[in-house]
Chain length 363, copies 2
């Protein structure tokens, strides 16, 4: 990028390489192949005695070329240390091989397995994942997405903080699948929220708890809506009464806040919107002399890493986050490869109850 002494080129324009065409005044340079930068298909082509396009084919669609020549080309390429240039390929194909995964907070343990699931499935399909952390800010989410958009082939949008409209806006620019949130007209994959809370209530019911308090999540949360709805239904079917307490911030602090309110109207059973709230709740009531699970049984949600570390270990609903991520990627890749985005109902993946020590029979 700046040499002005360049004369002989190795590139495409001049036909079959101008042999000894050193320009008159130039200091005679040794006949050196390649001037700077990495070797290109032209270098390989020349060394292998084939056309550049053949080299290109040998790499981008093996099978479209005689296996003998292909082998020779690969051989030569290896010797020269040739590596295909992703930028050039991207410019020509408009495909980068990059997938964006957007999450509201990398720090949130809930996303670990989702990330892993996405990464693995993506790698399998030959894609690299660009992780976008929006830090719970829809502005940042939008900006980061804006930056990523032009360089990715598709987007996995996890637990977005943006409006449905904004999401759909972006979805028409690139293939997308929503995770942990169902967005109309956009392929979505979500955990079985209603089944999850149902299992929790069932569990508490079997232990003799009734009524049960639901420590609700953030107001705008799609998941919270689904869970509360599921809880109401389950309440009817199982004949266990449920109360709602919230909305709460989905954090330890949120749980602490919930504890204050709960102390007024104690129920022996509690289901939290997520593990963080459950943990904050338990810590707070414990500090006030309430015993868990003797005085109150609490069920968390998500089965995050820390839920097995706290005292007592938390009974919780485990969501198959890895599977969730993988399913999203499969769907996304299918879209990229040309499949019509399926506008049907969201893909629902199953959840399960993990019994630990924060729940016990009513005394």
């Amino acid at each position: 990028m700046g040499h002005d002494t360049d004369e002989e080129r190795t590139g495409p324009p001049p036909g079959p390489a101008p042999e000894a065409e050193t320009s008159p005044e130039e200091p005679p340079s040794p006949v050196v192949r390649r001037r700077r930068g990495a070797p290109t298909i032209y270098d390989v082509a020349q060394a292998a005695g084939v056309a550049p396009s053949t080299v290109s084919r040998a790499f981008s669609r093996p099978g479209r070329v005689n296996s003998d020549t292909a082998n020779r080309i690969r051989q030569v390429a290896a010797e020269l240390g040739y590596r295909t240039n992703p930028m050039a390929r991207a410019l020509a194909t408009t495909h980068t091989g990059l997938l964006a995964l957007v999450v509201p907070d990398i720090t949130n343990p809930v996303y670990f397995e989702i990330i892993n699931g996405v990464q693995d499935e993506a790698a399998e399909a030959g894609y690299t994942v660009l992780l976008v952390d929006s830090r719970e800010s829809d502005t940042r989410e939008r900006q980061a997405l804006e930056r990523a958009l032009p360089i990715v082939d598709g987007i996995v949008l996890g637990t977005s903080r943006m409006s449905d409209a904004a999401i759909r806006m972006i979805a028409k620019q690139k293939p997308m699948v929503a995770l942990n949130r169902a967005v109309r007209e956009i392929p979505s994959v979500v955990p079985d929220n209603s089944r999850g809370v149902r299992r929790a209530l069932e569990h508490l019911g079997e232990l003799g708890h009734d009524p049960v308090t639901y420590l609700a999540g953030p107001e705008a949360s799609w998941a919270d809506g689904m869970r509360w709805r599921g809880l109401r239904e389950a309440s009817l079917e199982l004949s266990v009464h449920v109360r709602r307490l919230g909305p709460l911030s989905p954090t330890v602090a949120g749980g602490v806040a919930a504890a204050k309110a709960w102390l007024q109207t104690r129920t022996s059973g509690v289901i939290a919107y997520n593990d963080l709230i459950a943990i904050g709740f338990i810590r707070s009531v414990t500090a006030r002399g309430v015993r868990v699970p003797e005085d109150v049984s609490v069920v968390g949600y998500d089965n995050i890493f820390a839920s097995d570390l706290v005292t007592p270990p938390l009974t919780t609903i485990a969501t198959p986050r890895r599977a969730l991520g993988a399913a999203a990627v499969r769907n996304l890749v299918a879209q990229i490869r040309g499949a019509q985005p399926r506008v049907g109902p969201p893909v629902v993946v199953p959840v399960k109850l993990v019994e630990r020590e924060s729940t016990g029979p009513r005394l």
Copy 2:
């Protein structure tokens, strides 16, 4: 990429736009600007009545162009919805604006803040971060890095599992800075390990504990080496005896394993290689009737998220991980911008002791 009916082009080759040059046999198409895909500098140039190169300058180096024309161009560009194409730019400049951040395990809370620090600082410098999770496997680390290498402008290598030789190999292909590990000849930024353990020992010493057991980290860990070394030195200066127990896996399980051994030779003070080990240790000894901190005071290391959630909350050494990440990026960006990689000693960032409830006076 497939239309074979294209005739009139909007692109560069033809000079000042062939007015009504519809070819003889072609069905007369309406005078439609732009055929497909996003608008390019050529579209903007034409609409603004300037040359493509001027549009390019207006965006890539403002100031190199008359501010009036620049404004007009930006105006027109906005109207047309023009966005510069990163792939094309990358191909032309060999710069992608991407930085790779490699960590051994996204799941490990230690990396949260590092990641955030890196992201923020990178964003500030106009870069986007490609997070590479090697899952504690040097093979995976190498492969992922291999994929990322050609598309990034530089690499922040966090706690690498690769050999020094392998690291140096990669470092000569792209600018790099090592994090949490000092690699000779490569700019590195590390937390003040020796100061950290010294503070821990000091704290325990003040509380009257002597001797103190060090629950060592993984054998191959660079950080563990530094910490143990620092501990020996501090031991001398502070006149507090230290024993070493390990190596241990840097996990909760590792701490459980350590507990078994510790029960034979109880010391009233314990310093763990990291918080996870400390947590496992505490849980395990507590289950055997040992009280924390009455019977044993334990200091963790890292101050991960969960360390404030366990019972009792963990006294620990907080490493300024966000600052660590930011420092690494600053250094890296400087390198990319042409600065010589500084081969001096690693940049060391300070740490501090966070007192919580897992330590107390010797009884």
